[in-house]
């Protein structure tokens, strides 16, 4: 069915991990970015595919500006964050004439582009490709799963915030994964607690424990909690490398711990 070429673009990508949620605004893009940076610091070659067509956040978070996307024999050349080419990106954000343009597309058009993003980006050799998704369980999700399945899909990391409205949506996403046969690598509870920088009192602004409980109820591995960290949000605004800039922060250790979690480690065989 596929030419050598289309199978070829993902052939040298060792692992593909979806970052899903179901709920909007829980930190999928943030976590995708931070996990990618953490993996890169561990010496891995990482790619990020941003299939959130209506709200592409990855280019902004990594501060790559608006470079042109070039074509090569194998398809589109991904955008690299620096000359070391250890972090490759593809997002619709790079293809818009004006970065503030709204992408107001219906399903079929989105599906077509996602198909291209999966098959026609010349990723080259990567240890892991992280796929950042929009909220919901619609066209983008079905398309990306269908298209990735032709090549490789290790599983999904689900992100939630602790409160009830979030865990409800993420629970549905878990059911979606089970239905379409996407293995669940684990659940991350993001924005789990806020420590006041002034008095160190911890406030559970978005509640606490909801993610862990969701993991229990659905029989999924729990990968850990990431606290609300103003340093993290402000470093994302500036597009800085949080993992490099704030290694002492609570968010940093939380994220690194997630990567060291048993199941993720086994599935991804990431860190030696």
């Amino acid at each position: 069915m596929g030419e050598n070429n289309s199978g070829g673009n993902l052939a040298q990508v060792r692992h593909v991990v979806l970052v899903l949620s179901g709920k909007g605004g829980v930190g999928k893009s943030t976590l995708t970015t931070e996990l990618a940076l953490a993996l890169r610091h561990a010496g891995k070659k990482v790619g990020i595919l941003d299939v959130d067509l209506c709200g592409p956040s990855i280019p902004r978070m990594l501060s790559v500006g608006r470079p042109d996307v070039h074509q090569c024999d194998g398809g589109w050349v991904p955008v690299y964050t620096d000359s070391s080419k250890s972090l490759a990106l593809m997002s619709i954000g790079f293809m818009l004439e004006n970065p503030d343009d709204a992408v107001v597309w219906r399903g079929p058009k989105k599906n077509a582009l996602i198909g291209q993003f999966v098959s026609d980006v010349a990723w080259g050799e990567l240890d892991v490709l992280l796929v950042d998704t929009p909220p919901g369980t619609s066209d983008e999700h079905l398309s990306v799963v269908e298209n990735l399945r032709k090549h490789r899909l290790d599983g999904a990391v689900l992100v939630t915030t602790p409160q009830a409205v979030s865990t409800g949506d993420v629970r549905r996403e878990i059911t979606f994964c089970k239905k379409v046969g996407v293995p669940i690598l684990g659940i991350v509870e993001n924005m789990s607690g806020f420590v006041c920088p002034h008095c160190s009192e911890c406030s559970n602004i978005f509640s606490k424990g909801g993610g862990e409980e969701l993991a229990k109820i659905t029989g999924s591995p729990f990968l850990g909690c990431v606290p609300l960290d103003p340093l993290l949000s402000s470093s994302l605004e500036g597009g800085g490398d949080f993992m490099k800039m704030f290694p002492e922060s609570a968010a940093f250790s939380a994220i690194t711990n997630i990567l060291l979690q048993g199941k993720t480690l086994t599935c991804l065989r990431m860190l030696s």
Partner: protein, 288 residues
């Protein structure tokens, strides 16, 4: 009647013709029976508090003018939050004409996809099926007679937003954002989308504006500060107000007791009532 595009026709008349031809394929706007004005609460970005704002805005509208009848429509098909926020459960009953009767709590009639499906079931639907469900939620609900219908939109700028704007005359859109750039970027796209489909933007709300530590009262701008106000200026839209980040809002929301009802004397409730007043003023300004 096809006319030749002679050398005398400029590019602008060609564009006009193209627009005219494309418009013929588009659905005609039809008001929802019995509903006065439709206000959509949108954002572009997920998780900024659209649903929480929509619920408290609807209740706020009722609080500041008890003579007005308000309804709440949850148009987020994939992640309907209204049932949880309003503590409503169960399948809607049907009238003799097979129209769905909204579920009501705190005096606010609501309709949501969440009432029509199992709480844990994902709605794994492509655009077309979502459209047909939306059509039912728009046209086959027995609202009775409403002065205002507040519509909680899903995140993004896709099928649902397009369909609602194309099928129903919308009095205006309230755009919710948090102060951080990444949310404002999407809020900007949301505003642009509404411009494209000729829906007036009533204004921008800055949600989760600031957090005050309950212990020491120290204020932290967890998600940045002031961005939404600046964006409102840049886009030339009104700034409708700040809503602070307060544990009470989330705690009450999780319990299905919106703050406007459960803690009416709190500053958060006051912030939502102020928002309702600002929205009312803007609706009057744009509906001339």
């Amino acid at each position: 009647a096809a006319t030749q595009c002679g050398p005398s026709s400029g590019p602008s008349s060609l564009q006009d013709r193209q627009r005219e031809i494309m418009a013929r394929g588009l659905p005609k706007q039809k008001p929802i029976a019995g509903v006065g004005q439709v206000v959509v609460v949108a954002s572009g970005k997920g998780g900024v508090g659209k649903s929480t704002t929509a619920v408290n805005l609807a209740l706020g509208l009722m609080a500041i003018d008890p003579s007005k009848r308000v309804g709440l429509l949850d148009a987020d098909i994939h992640g309907p939050s209204v049932p949880k926020l309003m503590n409503l459960k169960g399948n809607p009953e049907l009238t003799e004409t097979n129209r769905m009767i909204p579920l009501t709590n705190y005096g606010l009639p609501c309709m949501s996809m969440g009432f029509l499906v199992d709480e844990e079931a994902p709605i794994v639907w492509r655009g077309l099926m979502v459209m047909s469900a939306l059509e039912k939620l728009l046209r086959q609900v027995e609202w009775g007679s409403l002065d205002y219908l507040v519509v909680d939109m899903p995140p993004g700028t896709g099928d649902v937003q397009l369909s609602i704007s194309q099928n129903v005359p919308v009095a205006g859109a309230v755009i919710v954002s948090t102060p951080q750039d990444i949310a404002l970027l999407d809020a900007r796209r949301g505003a642009e989308m509404f411009k494209k489909v000729h829906v007036p933007v009533l204004g921008l709300v800055q949600n989760m504006s600031v957090f005050q530590c309950p212990n020491c009262q120290h204020q932290t701008h967890i998600f940045g500060s002031g961005g939404a106000r600046q964006l409102a200026d840049t886009l030339g839209v009104h700034f409708l107000g700040d809503i602070p980040l307060h544990l009470n809002i989330r705690e009450m929301s999780d319990r299905g007791q919106p703050v406007v009802i459960s803690s009416p004397d709190s500053p958060e409730a006051e912030a939502y009532r102020k928002l309702a007043a600002a929205v009312l003023l803007r609706i009057q300004e744009v509906t001339v």
